[in-house]
C-alpha cells in the first residue's frame, strides 16, 4: 500500500520520532508504515488521519 506519510511529515517538519511520539508508537513502527513494509490497522490509520487532519484515503492508496 502506498502512502503520503513522508510528505505529510515534511510539510509539518516532523521527524519520524516526532510522529511516533504523537502516535504513541515506536519510531520503527512509523518507519515500517512509511516505507510500506507494514500496513497499519484501521484504528492506527484513523489516528494518522486525525493527526494530519485529513482522510485515510488522502494518506493511503491502493497500489493497483
Amino acid at each position: 500500500m502506498k502512502n503520503r506519510l513522508r510528505v505529510l511529515r515534511a510539510e509539518r517538519d516532523w521527524s519520524q520520532a516526532d510522529l511516533a511520539q504523537r502516535l504513541e508508537v515506536s519510531r520503527q513502527s512509523v518507519n515500517a508504515v512509511e516505507t510500506g513494509k507494514f500496513d497499519p490497522s484501521l484504528p492506527l490509520a484513523f489516528k494518522l488521519a486525525r493527526l494530519f487532519e485529513t482522510t485515510i484515503e488522502e494518506i493511503f492508496s491502493d497500489e493497483n
Binding site: E24, V25, S26, Q28, S29, N31, A32, V33, T35, K37, F38, P40, S41, L44
Partner: protein, 134 residues
C-alpha cells in the same frame, strides 16, 4: 519486548522475565539439592521434578501477556513473527535430531532443552526481523 523499545509493556516484560528466570534458578537449585541430599520418592519426587518447569512455562505465559499488553501493533507483530520463527525452528531442530537419534544413534536430546532452543531462536529471530524494518 525488543531492545529498542522502552514502552511500559516492554519494561514489564523484561522485569517479569528477570524475576521468573531468578525463580527458575532458585527452583532448579532447590530441586537438585533436595534430590541429592534427601532422595525423595513418590508424589514429593514428582512435585520437585516438575518445580523448575513451572517458571520456564511461565516465561511463555509472560510473553503472551506482553503480546496482550503491547499497544504498539507493529511491535506486537514483530513479537508474533519472532514467536512463529521460534516455534518453527524448535520443531525443525527437534524433528531433525529425533530422526538422527533413531537412524544414526546420535546422542539423546533431553526435551528440557526444547525451551532453551526456543528462546535461542527468539533471541536470533528478533534482531533479524527488526533489521528488516530499520
Amino acid at each position: 519486548m525488543n531492545c529498542t523499545t522502552n514502552n511500559p509493556a516492554a519494561k514489564r516484560f523484561m522485569r517479569r522475565n528477570l524475576i521468573t528466570l531468578l525463580l527458575y534458578a532458585l527452583s532448579l537449585a532447590f530441586s537438585i539439592s533436595v534430590f541429592l541430599h534427601f532422595h525423595p520418592t513418590g508424589v514429593l519426587a514428582y512435585l520437585l521434578a516438575v518445580l523448575p518447569a513451572i517458571p520456564l512455562t511461565g516465561l511463555l505465559a509472560i510473553f503472551g501477556l506482553y503480546l496482550a499488553e503491547e499497544k504498539d501493533e507493529f511491535q506486537r507483530s514483530i513479537g508474533v513473527q519472532s514467536m512463529l520463527w521460534s516455534i518453527g525452528g524448535t520443531l525443525a531442530v527437534t524433528n531433525i535430531w529425533g530422526f538422527l537419534e533413531s537412524f544414526v544413534h546420535l546422542r539423546h536430546l533431553n526435551p528440557i532443552l526444547d525451551a532453551v532452543i526456543f528462546w535461542i531462536f527468539m533471541g536470533i529471530s528478533l534482531p533479524f526481523l527488526l533489521r528488516r524494518y530499520r
